[in-house]
Structures are given as C-alpha cells and as structure tokens.
C-alpha cells in the first residue's frame, strides 16, 4: 500500500499514519497549486483528526541541481499546519496556519471548507483514492517473481481516509518556484514537536524500503520508523547508509524481475534511482498545466538529461503503482507492468475538494 500501515508506529495509531501525499496544479485554475495529505487508513465513519497532532505540509522551492542528477532544494520553507479541536456537539473544528502566520478556521467535513486570501482548505472523511493489489505485491517479493494477475484484488476498494486538501495561490503564499518540493508530516503538538510520520513519494516505505530479505547490510532491521523520524530535506548522516543499502538492494531486486538489467549499478553498488528516491519529496512544477499522468516525469527528465514536459507531482487518479513498477522493473523501456487494479471505487473530481465523498459502510462491505 502506498504509505498505509508503514511501520510499527503507524500501525499503533492510524490517526498519525499518512497514507498518501499529492501535489498538482489545480485543474480549475493555473494560479493554484493543490496539496493533499491523507491519514487514517481504513477509517470507519466515526474517525476524527487528533487534537494532539499537527498535520503539516512543507513546501520548498526546488530546481535542477548543477550535476543534473538530482534537485537543489531551497533553504527557505513554507509550512501549512493543520490542527484540530476536541469535537463539540458532534462537530470538529480545525484551522490551517499559513506560512504568514494567519490561521484559517474550518469545520471538518464541510465541503465549503475555510477560505482566506490565497488559501482554500478542506478537511474531512473522503474515499481513499489509492489503489493496488497489495497481496500480490507481497507475493512478488516472497516468490521473487511478478505475481500480479490480469484482474487484481484491491483491499482498499471502498475504504475511506481522513483527507486534508489545500488549494493555494502559489505566487501569493510561496516564494521561488515554479518548481517545488513537497513533503507531508504528522508531528506531536506542543512546545517540542516530534515527527511521527513523513511522506513524500508514494510507495517508498512499503514497496521500496519494506522488504528486508534482499538487504545484505541490515537483514533484520525494521527500518521504517527510523526513516519516518528523519527530516526529508536533511537526512541524518548516521542512518543514510542504512537507507541507501536497503534501496540499492530492493531496487536491484525489482530491476531483475523481467530477467534483464535496465538499471546497472555504479562502481559503488548504487542504483541510479537511489539518490533521487532518498530525496523523498514530490517534485511539482506549478507553471505547467495540470496533467493526469505525470508522476516522476520531472525526475525521469533529469535522469535522461532532457527538459521536463509536464507538471510532475502527483494527481489523485493516477495509477501510480503501475507507473512505479514499470519504472523499477524495466525503466519504462518495456511493456507497462500492471498490478491488475486500475482504479478506486470512485474517481476523484477536478473540482475542489477533489477527493470523492466517503463511501458508506455498506459499500465498503
């Protein structure tokens, strides 16, 4: 699953478990960038945001690094912090604090959301837009063979999450750009906040980092809670070697699934995607028009030494698992690798708040 259930801590408390982060130019307006942070996999109808958690979206200006193999991320950061109250009379109130310090109030599950100059915010229960055949992804690792079927089975079908949607006028609220790096986080509230989870790209912790058996350095290490603790924009020197070794091993495994090597390792055993993925943030170009199939296109352009053509980022309806599998297994040089699950129960919409309304419990069953 994308980032659902991504480590012991996330499993222990789903209200802090980020399932996905999305970033895309608004389909309605090129002046706006949309950022989405989803938490609480398999949320039942009574699910609420925690009053002890800050739900944060971090944005920094980004550009293509001089060596043209990665991105240079700016030091100045723009954060959008959403916090929530204890519900009163069955209603939960929240607020989004913008980079300029202004707090925008809203009511949870109110589709009109809250508005201020440059920001439109929604938070509430929605249909989980993510889809994949999770059991066959697991079987692929266990059997070391692509195990996906033409018609797969999606455990997330008809499930709900708690979603936070920000539509921001990027030229007003952000500086730099038009390319931005985006990360979602959950943190403890209070004077000394502690990071609980962080997510940038999809399927980093589960598909890319989760399997231990190929890792020759830390074969028995559950690496994901450590990884979650890290600042996405500044990995600690102490543990980056462990993440690198795990990614190198797992990416090499995926590359070999079609019997040929599309991603030759360098002299140090590093996979060509490892450094890009270690910089675990979405890269989105707000100046490009909305695109439905643009995940990792900017990164691929960098790898191929060409100018990117799309907004990159990540749109809600993209079959991102197929995109990732194809990237990892054949570098896009072969047939598209399909997991046999091609959509969620309901497609997301191109109008605010974008994510489809929550599924009824009957639909879930």
């Amino acid at each position: 699953m994308s980032d659902h259930i991504s480590g012991p801590r996330a499993i222990a408390d789903p209200v802090t478990d980020i399932t996905d982060v999305y970033a895309f130019p608004s389909p309605e307006s090129p002046r706006h960038l949309v950022l989405i942070l989803n938490v609480f996999p398999y949320a039942g109808p009574s699910a609420l945001f925690s009053d002890a958690v800050t739900y944060r979206l971090r944005v920094r200006s980004a550009s293509i690094a001089p060596d043209k193999r990665a991105f240079a991320v700016g030091a100045e950061e723009f954060t959008f912090d959403c916090t929530f109250d204890v519900p009163a009379q069955g209603l939960q109130q929240g607020r989004c604090t913008m980079p300029n310090g202004e707090a925008v109030p809203f009511r949870v599950n109110d589709e009109n959301g809250g508005k201020a100059e440059g920001l439109h915010v929604f938070a509430g229960q929605r249909s989980d837009p993510f889809f994949l055949d999770g059991p066959m992804a697991g079987k692929t690792i266990a059997t070391r063979q692509l195990a996906f079927k033409p018609v797969g089975s999606d455990r997330l079908y008809g499930k709900n999450v708690l979603g936070i949607v920000l539509r921001i006028e990027w030229a007003t609220l952000l500086k730099g750009g038009p390319m931005f790096a985006v990360v979602g986080e959950t943190l403890t509230s209070g004077k000394r906040p502690t990071r609980l989870e962080r997510v940038g790209r999809p399927e980093i912790k589960n598909i890319s980092l989760g399997a231990k058996i190929f890792d020759q350095v830390n074969r028995d290490l559950e690496i994901r809670d450590m990884y979650n603790n890290e600042d996405a924009f500044r990995l600690s020197e102490d543990y980056v070697g462990a993440y690198r070794a795990r990614l190198n091993a797992n990416l090499a495994f995926y590359d070999g699934l079609d019997g040929k090597t599309d991603w030759p390792l360098d002299a140090h055993g590093n996979h060509p995607l490892t450094e890009l993925l270690l910089a675990d943030h979405l890269i989105v170009d707000a100046s490009k028009p909305f695109d439905e199939m643009s995940y990792f296109e900017i990164e691929r352009a960098v790898l191929e030494g060409r100018t990117h053509a799309t907004c990159g980022g990540r749109w809600l309806n993209e079959d991102v698992v197929d995109s990732i599998l194809t990237l990892y297994v054949n570098a896009g040089k072969g047939p598209r690798i399909r997991d046999g699950v091609d959509g969620p129960i309901t497609w997301s919409s191109k109008t605010f708040p974008y994510m489809a309304p929550p599924n009824q419990p009957q639909a879930a069953s």
């Binding site: 801590r9 222990a12 408390d13 789903p14 398999y42 945001f49 403890t188 879930a364």
Partner: protein, 337 residues
Amino acid sequence: MTTDGTIALLNLQAQIDGLEADDMIESRVCRIELITLRGLLLGRIADYERAGEIAEQLVRDADTDGRCFIARARTRATFHRFTDALDDLDRAERLSVDVETANRERAPILQALGRYDEALAILEEAEDRRENFENVAALFGLYAERGKIDVAERLYLESRFRYRGVSPFPVALLDFQLGFMWMNEDRLDYARTAFDAARRRVPAYAPAQGHLAEVEAELGEIESAIARLRALATSSDDPDYAAQLARILGDAGRDDESRHWRRLAAARYDALVTSHPEAFADHAAEFWLAAGADPEKALRLARMNVEVRKTPRAYALLAHAGWRVRRIPGDLTCRKI
C-alpha cells in the same frame, strides 16, 4: 500530550468498523486486538466474547497460519484459559512464528499463572534487545504486581519517558497498573492520583473509574463513589461494578438500593461462572465474600480459581474464604490480596 480520550475511542471504533468487511488474515487478527482493547477500556465482556468468536473462526479458516494461533491465544488468555493459550503459542511457534513474537504473548500468561521467574526472564531478554516503551512497561507491570515498589516506580517513569506516540491508551493502561499497585500497598492517596490520571486521559476507561470509586469509598467519599459505580453498573456488562455498588450502598445503610444491585450482580456472576469459569471464579468469589454474603459459595469458587492459577493473590482469596467458613486456619489470611 496525547489525543483526547473521546476522540481516541471514536477512532478505535472507526478502526474496528473500517476492518469489518476485510477478510484478510492480518485484518481479522487486527480486529481481534482492537475489539479486545475496546472491551478492556469499556469493561465490555461482550467484546471479549466477540473477539474470542472471531479468533476461533480464524483458526478454523487458516489452521496452518501461526498468526491465527497467536490471536486465539490472546483471547483465551483474556478468559484465563491459560493452558489452552500456552498450547496455542506452542502451536504458533511450530508454524514458524518467531520465538520473540510468541514470547511477547507468553510472558503475561506466565505472569498471570504466578510463574514470575519465567515471565521475568522473557521480559528482561526483550528489554535487553529493545528498550522501548512496550518492553519497559511490561517489566513495570510484573514488578508492580509483585509489589516491588522501588523497581516498579523507576520502570514506570522510564516507560513514560520512552513513550513516543499520541494514543492515550498505553499511558492510561500504565497509570491504571500504577494505581492498582498503590491500592495493593494501601497507599490510597497515591492510588487515587494514578486512577484519576488514567480516567482523565480516557474518561470512558471503566476499570479506572471503577477502581477510583473503590478508593474513594475507602477514603470516605461515598457519594462520589456511588455516582461513578452507578454509571458503570448501568453501562457495563461486567458485574464487578454492580457488586462494588451493592457493597458500598450496603455499608452506607441503603439496603433497598443495595439489594437491587446485589441481585443483578449475583445473576450475572452465576451466568459468567457457567460460561467462563476460569475468568470469573475469583471475581465471583470476592463478590460472594462481600455483598453476596455466601462464603460457602465463595470458597468453592476460590478453590476453582487456585486450580487455574497459583498466584499469591489466588491463595490469599482462598485463605480468606476458608477463614470465613472456618475451614482453613486463620493465619493464612495474612497473605496479601
């Protein structure tokens, strides 16, 4: 700071509901854990029974998957079927569940059986391997139960320090255990503080409210205790609250009210001793020794309880019951309950 207890309980319910239609083994195992946790917090025996049913079905559906036996072991241990639970853990290990996972479940069962040295060995090994909240808290629970106050207090503080989450449940459970330790030491003010801390974190935490009421009654705060217990006796299907309420009302001379709750508790204990004898023999014996006023019945149940687990507490209960019917020498009553 932890999540408000009301939100956390709604989210626990949301987790259970969200997994309702999921037939995958890990989802069913997860549901068993969540329903058991809800039962523990709300004092709902029906939840324990439901978790047990799901676990039995799970083992029938997938009897070659060790995870199912781990899940069933948990539900069996909840109803004090300790031998059956240990058998399940052995079976899980044979089905290639790793020894660390099996031992994590084995330690509290050994502790409940009074096999403290074996439990301690497992818990110390786990703590040596990983000094995280769960392992330190488990060690605290063992030392607290054994009345090793100094060590327990140190471990309590250390486990609080190591807690990194925002869920209020692990901390409330820890505070409850601390309160129970102080209650057993007759340090009622300390016990009240700890039970109240657990209650403030999770207002619906029934055992914390129930024990807080018990302490309040001991401290002479009768009306507060009665108010708490009346709410619990009405909402919970666990007869302990009605039993306590009957006792306190009786002591206060409010005999008509006491009789009402006594009747309810007696009928419920009789039903539960029939359906889950191992789990309710001790609580029922305590009831028949107090508000139930039937020491003979209490003695039969206390004997049954000692057969299930040979802990100091079980022997003390037997001694107390024996003393009440004058069949066991009174000097055994000095054992601490």
